[in-house]
Symmetry: C2
Subunit: 350 residues, 2 copies
DNA sequence: TTGAAAGCGCTACCAA
DNA sequence: TTGGTAGCGCTTTCAA
């Protein structure tokens, strides 16, 4: 197959090559870019034309090295799937872009070693700030971030040792609220089910909040049914079948994610258990499909837009030397049919 | 609130500061990092300790500027949602990382101007290669990429003017296959429904493939029902209600994404249309939830793993000066209940 | 309004 | 096995 790439071409244009072509100094070209007002309009136009002609793209390695500040914000997430953090990243990016900050994204895939590598890699670009999912990191990661000298915003969680600033949820409280939701509707024998990776402290916090509440209410201990695999409906179904086989009395299931809950609903159907009459189910995250299942799935909806927007705003504030802060983010329980025991099904949620 | 950030600290450690501390030249420290074998083990250990102590993080701006090659691969996607491209990015990243190439991600959000800005921004980091979704770009983007002098891999699509290499699907063929799937099951009055942004040439190609097939088969013209909004179940439901109100004869709906199809199924339920008896529905993308809906949703499953892996491999090949190539990616139709007209429902897909 | 010169932190090359 | 030197392409003074 022929080589379509325009190879063997001249090296990329530099400021100097533009300058030479126009007949000015590199300095002037640089100013035409960063402070156009200080360059004669006519000259400015000539320079712009030369840049177009030569397909000039500024070299940020050089710019960043020479300059004082970077326009790069590093964003470290644990996963890209299931809209879990996609909305956050999206909002973060669009808000930062409005202030001309560019996002560089890294994905740890829930791997602590990977997190360390990626944070190190991220910092090596000398970013203006870092946004990262969670507050529970590899100790070395905490160290690196703390000594980085740039603003750090931890997102999604805020229960723990915050490095600089945070915008997140109180997962312990959410776990308790999930349990309360089921208990109020008459479910008594609760289980927590789903994917739970070691690095995912948020899941553990929700489970703990749930257990505390059940205990306070004098209910049987919460049965834990988790596995360290990525969340997927198939995992949910498998865990659900195991759970009910070992604990037939279970009548309320809190899932670690909506995706897993989808599989749980499927599993319960296979076991001929009615939802919500026999078993109540609630998920976490309120994925798009949750209002389209049969029965529709109750869930917890974090205000993701706000996490992204607020994290960006905190970064901008910190860059202007405003004080750090810890911002709790709103969430609510979306009660749908999967936990509507004893109540008439009112049809699909709009 | 107090300031948790360790501010006012000494500037980040440099190679020189490490060198000074150990009492060697910066050069040696650099080699200790890039070619450890050329440094005495004892010295190497001392250097490593100093780096630990000073929390040294190499400055890639300087390294990239001085060195000959970059270990950065720019990845440009159109969206981060619905696992559409998340799996691809994930696979791409993990494959590249194995060769010590780091991914920098940008998200155009289906905005052509944004694409131009982001590609320019990407190139300004002097990446070793670029992977980008689609083959239909802003003309200026084509220009920039073509002149960038680095390998370019276009992903997800391959029907059009490929810049360098591609790993993707033939969307026209997929559209035809979706239509054929419905036609074979007895559906006759077809519609194409969903989100369709101007920049999303893939959707247009699938719709065109579908229309061509319907015409060849002498069926009524395919009704188009699209809107330039992001795909979401609510959009699907709204479009579905409109569609059936204006075209009551429609009995086969090809959706532009599974997410939109979820809303279509909900809309059809509200209209008291039975799926698959009255209306057949097929989506695109095979999202996780599709096997969990009632009825389960038929869809097209692209081999996303392969797109990501292959794109990474092509990049590695190109960096070793192997020839460019255009790699068609497998896909198949996952036939589930939503298009199983006249056939007994066999229960939930596993 | 423009230019000259220094230097950001690193790598590459050559010499020791 | 180590060190010296010369840049990489840009920004930042300062001077013209």
């Amino acid at each position: 197959m022929e080589d379509r790439r325009n190879d063997g071409q001249r090296p990329p244009a530099t400021l100097a090559s533009i300058a030479a072509r126009v007949g000015v100094s590199a300095n002037t070209v640089s100013r035409a870019l960063r402070a156009p007002d200080t360059v004669r309009p006519e000259l400015r136009r000539k320079i712009a034309t030369a840049m177009e002609d030569l397909n000039y793209v500024p070299n940020r390695l050089a710019g960043g090295l020479a300059g004082t500040r970077s326009d790069l914000v590093g964003v470290v997430v644990t996963s890209l799937y299931y809209s879990e953090f996609a909305t956050i990243v999206d909002r973060l990016q669009s808000t930062l872009l409005a202030s001309n900050l560019h996002v560089m994204l890294a994905n740890t895939r829930y791997d602590a070693d990977e997190e360390l590598k990626l944070v190190r890699s991220m910092l090596s670009w000398r970013p203006a700030a870092i946004a990262i999912i969670g507050v529970d990191h590899h100790p070395k990661v905490n160290d690196l971030l703390r000594h980085s000298g740039v603003p750090i915003v931890e997102m999604w969680d805020l229960d723990g040792d915050v490095i600089d600033s945070a915008a997140g949820l109180d997962h312990g409280e959410i776990g308790a609220a999930q349990a309360r939701h089921l208990i109020e509707r008459g479910y008594r024998n609760l289980a927590f089910l789903g994917s739970m990776r070691e690095i995912d402290a948020r899941a553990a916090k929700r489970a703990a909040g749930m257990r505390r509440l059940a205990e306070r209410q004098g209910l049987p201990p919460v049965v834990m049914k988790t596995r360290a695999e990525p969340g997927h409906p198939d995992l949910g179904e498998a865990l659900c079948l195991e759970l009910l086989a070992d604990n037939p009395a279970i009548d309320g299931i809190v899932c670690n994610s909506d995706t897993v809950a989808y599989g749980v609903l499927r599993g319960l159907r296979k076991l001929a258990k009615n939802v919500p009459e026999d078993v109540g189910v609630i998920g976490f995250g309120d994925a798009e499909a949750s209002a389209c299942l049969t029965p529709t799935l109750s869930s917890v909806r974090p205000d993701r837009d706000n996490i992204g927007r607020l994290s960006a705003e905190i970064i901008l504030e910190r860059l202007r030397d405003k004080p750090s802060r810890i911002a709790p983010i709103d969430w609510d329980i979306v009660a749908r049919d999967s936990s509507r025991r004893g109540m008439p099904t009112i049809g699909n949620d709009m």
